[in-house]
Amino acid sequence: MTTRSQRADEDSPTEQTGTPPMLSIEKLAVGVGIGARYLQILDNVDLEVRQGQTVGLVGESGSGKSTLAKTLVGEMPITSGRIRIGGTDVGSMSRAARGGMRRRVQLIPQDPYSSLSPRRTIGQTLAEAIDPRRADARRHREDIHHWLGKVSLETDAAERYPHEFSGGQRQRIAIARALAVKPELVIADEVTSALDLTTQAEILNLLADLREELGLTMLFISHNLAVVRHVSDQVTVLFRGSVVESGDVDRIYDAPGHPYTQQLIASVPGGPAFNLDA
């Protein structure tokens, strides 16, 4: 715990003067609909993820967590504000450049059951991540086996279909697929919500290992506060589309400043502040 926060502290001065943050979001607003039916989902959101860091994004349903993830991967348009990835402004990019940008940001989706096409073998699915045009499982055999090994799956998994795997194994495959693209930024959207406790522990350990090994930069979105505390260096709390608090994870969990953050942290059963008789 201490080593990680120390490293973050040491990094910050050099980061500020040297390379720009991997992801920087400034005054982002996102909405749907037009005219009188316009509905603001995200309002004035600021967020920063530095190289090698994991930033947790917590919030309840309707807070705009998923909308932010969709906006980052280009599935939703920006109403106003700015998203910069590796220093380049996504909004000012041409259509073609944005296509290339897509592979620099990869999303690990929540539901391991609907994120793998049931009619394609794991090898074919991974081949598509390695080479989206040809997706030839035989040509990329070695790469596929490499990535399966990285997520601790046997190489014969490449020949099998998604329904032959458990939820945890499918989530490993989804992680392998996202990493095979060698993205600069990984967005993990509720990756453990559909999993049992022990499987969740396996996946969290795997992410920690991969982070160490590959130096992953990650935006970790979850409604589970304990999981976010476990994996993140920094945390940002969203409430109804706005950031209410952000900063070092230990500071925010131990001494939340905003009343909403206080309420949120006190609501976690098993947490120190939880009281049913209040």
């Binding site: 897509r102 045009r133 022990t198 522990a201 476990h230 209040a278």
Partner: protein, 577 residues
């Protein structure tokens, strides 16, 4: 539970009677189409002097005005008819799929008008469109195939676009886009393979329709032209002499009906093979296990007594492998475990609500003086047990107002009038701190938040003043702040009314806070019984419970590796709670 039901469905043969009959009929028609022209062409096409003969052993259906055998002509016509129908179907299916998927790939400003255009085209009668095409081009078999084929394109394009729209929401499509896969590749790699089943089914129906429309076109004289003939042409020729020689239209009509029937049966058969019926949950009395003796020492002061409860799957395998526990009046008992541990099945057996195909047996299953094994008294069950389900969004009927749904039990089982029931319910809602309960009663479920729906559900489960509330993952679908509020309501209700609560959850944090006693379940067995306080302090004995605790991320900031449970249970392990 769902897993077991699925396997039983999968075990059912994919070949149902309709499909077998359809394939057999179509097979014999194809055989006729191949063989008849080889052997029967002379009888069908050479002109003889035997004009307009009645049925005889030589000519079963008689002869036409040129002395040709009608049966032979009908059989030989099968080939042309089938080929034409097939051709038209291929045009409709291929054209429809290409247009449908292009529409899906197109940018939004093209997609929406294109979809409206396709819908308008579907609304326009296809036969009239085909007549138009046939009339403009010179009539003939090729024209008929093209006309009917094109006329069938819009409906297929619409189906493809609709299927694509429903599949497009799945994550693997979004992920493929994110990986930078080109649009047409997404269609061929992900879209088409995943909608092949409904498309096959629709193709069979499209074949039946093409058959009928091509025959109609030939019948009105715009399709096949003499000297070629298909079923429709034969009907057209028979019409002139229908009063003197009715049999001349009967033979092609029979062939037409058989072919159409075969195609429709194949379509229906494929549809039902692709879509296995879902098993519905219904009230099924629990069965007493007669081979085992009664429990010797019943815990007399216990409110709920469960002794050696087993739940068997459709093939007789044990899913819950003999669990025993007692609940004292006013006790809050937690059943905790991962998916597949049998915690929900245990609770549903007590409530008498097992899914179809599952049976429960037990030495004893008793709530107070009510024997839950033998009772078929739904009134006694409703009055003694209150139920709270997991998903507040799907528990209520969205079409009805909250009032009638919430008061159903009091009206049906307590014989209360509407006014009385409403008054009781409003008081119950007020007690569980729902603001403006009178207004809530007149609202529809979608107007209430998830937390409010779940609190209403708790209120409804308490109006009969039951002796036991069974709550199956009641806070799993809720946000954490709402969950804390709902848990407080459970705690307060338990303390004020002394109602026992059987609380099922996968969340160790929740049960350790709420429950007096916790039973840890794994693969159909109770592995450990401990108090909520012991669990909170981490004083667990069983390796599995300890594994669960060490797999839980902590709120207090320890960030070491989580010890994922490596504990593998010995199936023969004798475990006492």
């Amino acid at each position: 539970m769902a897993k077991t039901l699925n396997t039983s469905n999968r075990r059912r043969s994919r070949f149902n009677p309709a499909l077998v009959a359809g394939l057999a009929l179509m097979g014999s028609m194809v055989l006729v189409a191949v063989l008849a022209p080889l052997f029967l062409t002379p009888a069908a096409e050479s002109l003889t002097a035997d004009s307009r003969l009645g049925p005889s052993t030589a000519h079963w259906f008689g002869t036409d005005e040129f002395g040709r055998d009608i049966l032979a002509r009908s059989l030989v016509a099968t080939r042309l008819t089938l080929l034409m129908s097939l051709g038209a179907t291929v045009i409709s299916v291929v054209g429809g799929i290409v247009i449908g998927s292009s529409v899906w790939l197109a940018p939004r400003w093209i997609r929406e008008p294109a979809l409206r255009l396709i819908e308008a085209a579907v609304a326009y009668p296809s036969l009239i469109f085909a007549l138009l095409v046939a009339a403009i081009m010179s009539p003939g078999s090729t024209t008929a195939v093209i006309a009917i084929g094109i006329a069938g394109i819009p409906s297929f394009a619409r189906i493809t676009a609709n299927l694509a729209a429903s599949i497009a929401h799945r994550n693997y499509i979004a992920t493929a886009r994110l990986l930078g896969v080109p649009g047409y590749r997404i269609v061929t790699r992900h879209l088409l393979p995943n909608m092949s089943e409904p498309l096959f089914v629709m193709s069979a129906s499209a074949f039946a329709l093409s058959l009928l429309e091509i025959s109609s076109l030939s019948f009105v004289g715009l399709g096949v032209q003499s000297p070629q003939y298909d079923f429709g042409r034969l009907l057209n020729e028979g019409l002139i002499a229908i009063f003197v020689q009715p049999l001349q239209v009967v033979a092609p009509s029979i062939m037409l009906v058989i072919t159409g029937l075969a195609a429709v049966l194949i379509g229906d058969g494929m549809a039902s093979a692709a879509n296995p019926r879902r098993a519905a949950r219904r009230l099924l009395p629990t069965r007493r296990n007669m081979s085992t003796p009664e429990s010797v020492a019943p815990a007399s002061q216990a409110l709920l007594e469960v002794d050696n409860l087993k739940v068997l799957g459709p093939t007789g395998e044990e899913i819950v492998k003999g669990v025993s526990f007692n609940m004292k009046p006013g006790e809050v008992l937690g059943l905790v475990g991962e998916s597949g541990s049998g915690k929900s099945l245990t609770a549903m057996s007590i409530a008498g609500l097992l899914a179809e195909g599952l049976t429960a047996t037990a030495h004893t299953l008793r709530l107070g003086d009510l024997d839950l094994l033998t009772t078929r008294d739904s009134r006694a069950m409703a009055l003694n047990i209150g139920l709270v389900y997991q998903d507040p969004g799907s528990t209520f009927n969205p079409a009805l107002r909250m009032g009638p749904q919430l008061t159903e039990v009091s009206r049906v089982h307590l014989n209360q009038s509407r006014q009385e029931a409403n008054a009781t319910m409003i008081a119950a809602l007020d007690e569980i701190s729902i603001q403006r309960p009178e207004l809530r009663m007149t609202q529809h479920p979608h107007e209430l938040s998830g937390g409010m729906l779940q609190r209403s559900m708790i209120a409804a489960s308490t109006v009969t003043e039951p002796r036991l509330i069974i709550a199956d993952e009641p806070t799993t679908a809720l946000d954490v702040t709402v969950q804390a509020d709902v848990l407080r309501k459970f705690r307060r209700y338990n303390q004020e009314h002394g109602t026992a609560i059987l609380f099922i959850s996968h969340d160790i944090g929740v049960v350790q806070e709420l429950c007096d006693t916790v039973l840890v379940m794994h693969r159909g067995r109770i592995l450990e019984r401990l108090t909520g306080a012991e669990l909170k302090d981490g004083r667990a004995e069983h390796p599995y419970t300890r594994a669960l605790l060490s797999a839980s991320p902590s709120m207090t900031g320890e960030k070491g590796r989580l010890r994922a449970a490596q504990w593998k249970p010995d199936e023969e392990l004798e475990v006492t709670p």
